[in-house]
């Protein structure tokens, strides 16, 4: 089981109480698709993804970004049982979407950068460490049911 300090618990709750899902979600997914173009393979049904402008203007990408960010809510509410919370989603990503789990890490990195863009220097090293630790647990959990 993951051990969380009080600071880490408070920080995660604080981040997610302040985060603008409508901005950060789309920003993170957009960055991922632009910076790591091979991730576009999973979103063929989203239509135009052939360059940065197309991706940034794609409504389906934006909506999916919000959906993915909200997908973290269950982990925020259940920090002591994150792996269990993602059992089904992990199976889904493995068996239905066939997503290479290394991509979860890439998206997590893009999320950290998206928040850094929003928060500026308020995104201190300690807050970043707590956030990235939280994301790494989610990333691990999402990969846990692959076989």
């Amino acid at each position: 089981m993951v051990e969380w300090t009080e600071f880490e618990r408070d920080t995660i709750k604080d981040i997610f109480s302040k985060i603008d899902y409508d901005v950060v979600g789309p920003a993170a997914l957009t960055r991922c698709l632009v910076v790591y173009p091979w991730t576009r393979r999973y979103f063929g049904i989203f239509g135009a993804l052939y360059n940065a402008e197309a991706i940034m203007g794609n409504e389906m990408v934006a909506n999916h970004g919000k959906k993915v960010l909200h997908g973290l809510d269950r982990a925020v509410k259940n920090m002591d049982h994150i792996k269990e919370s993602y059992c089904e989603l992990s199976q889904l990503h493995s068996d239905q979407f066939h997503v290479d789990p290394d991509n979860f890490r890439l998206l997590a990195d893009c999320l950290a950068i998206a928040i850094a863009t929003q928060w500026g220097s308020a995104f201190t090293p300690d807050i970043q460490a707590a956030f990235q630790k939280f994301l790494s647990v989610v990333v691990f959990s999402l990969g846990s049911q692959y076989h």
Binding site: V35, A112, F123, P125, Q128
Partner: protein, 143 residues
């Protein structure tokens, strides 16, 4: 994943805006790496303090940024330009090259903080490609 002329121009543009704050940026990126990836502290176990404001962190942050700034001027042939630094990291410092990307990520985070409007996804792509190329050149002499 080689750098296009546009990538190189983007990197040079950002570096021009960052070079005056090399110590601050380097110290910030290094502090973040040590906080987010505690395993990286092992390379600095000889320091008195690893805290963000410490003189060692500030000094080394500046050293790293000067190295990266030098790499920016040698973008046309990073492998040759970074030969000596690669030997240093491979034979003397013996830094596991997997750590280069950990510092790279934190440089990107600092850039996102400094340039919230200008550090667009395309700019992020260009700088990430450059830092990957730099890490590869730095790994050249390892084996």
């Amino acid at each position: 994943m080689s750098l296009t002329p546009k990538d190189k121009a983007t990197v040079k543009l950002f570096w021009g805006r960052m070079s005056g704050k090399a110590e601050l940026i380097g110290a910030d990126a290094l502090s973040r790496m040590l906080a987010v990836y505690p395993q990286t502290k092992i390379y600095f176990s000889h320091w008195k303090s690893l805290s963000p404001g410490s003189s060692e962190v500030k000094k080394h942050g500046k050293t790293i940024m000067m190295g990266i700034g030098d790499a920016v001027t040698k973008m046309e042939d990073l492998e040759r330009g970074l030969l000596t630094l690669s030997e240093l990291h491979a034979f003397k410092l013996r830094v596991d090259p997997t750590n280069f990307k950990l510092l790279s990520l934190n440089i990107l985070v600092v850039m996102a903080i400094m340039f919230p409007e200008d550090f667009t996804p395309m700019a992020h792509l260009a700088v990430d490609k450059f830092l990957c190329a730099l890490a590869l050149a730095l790994s050249e002499k390892y084996r």
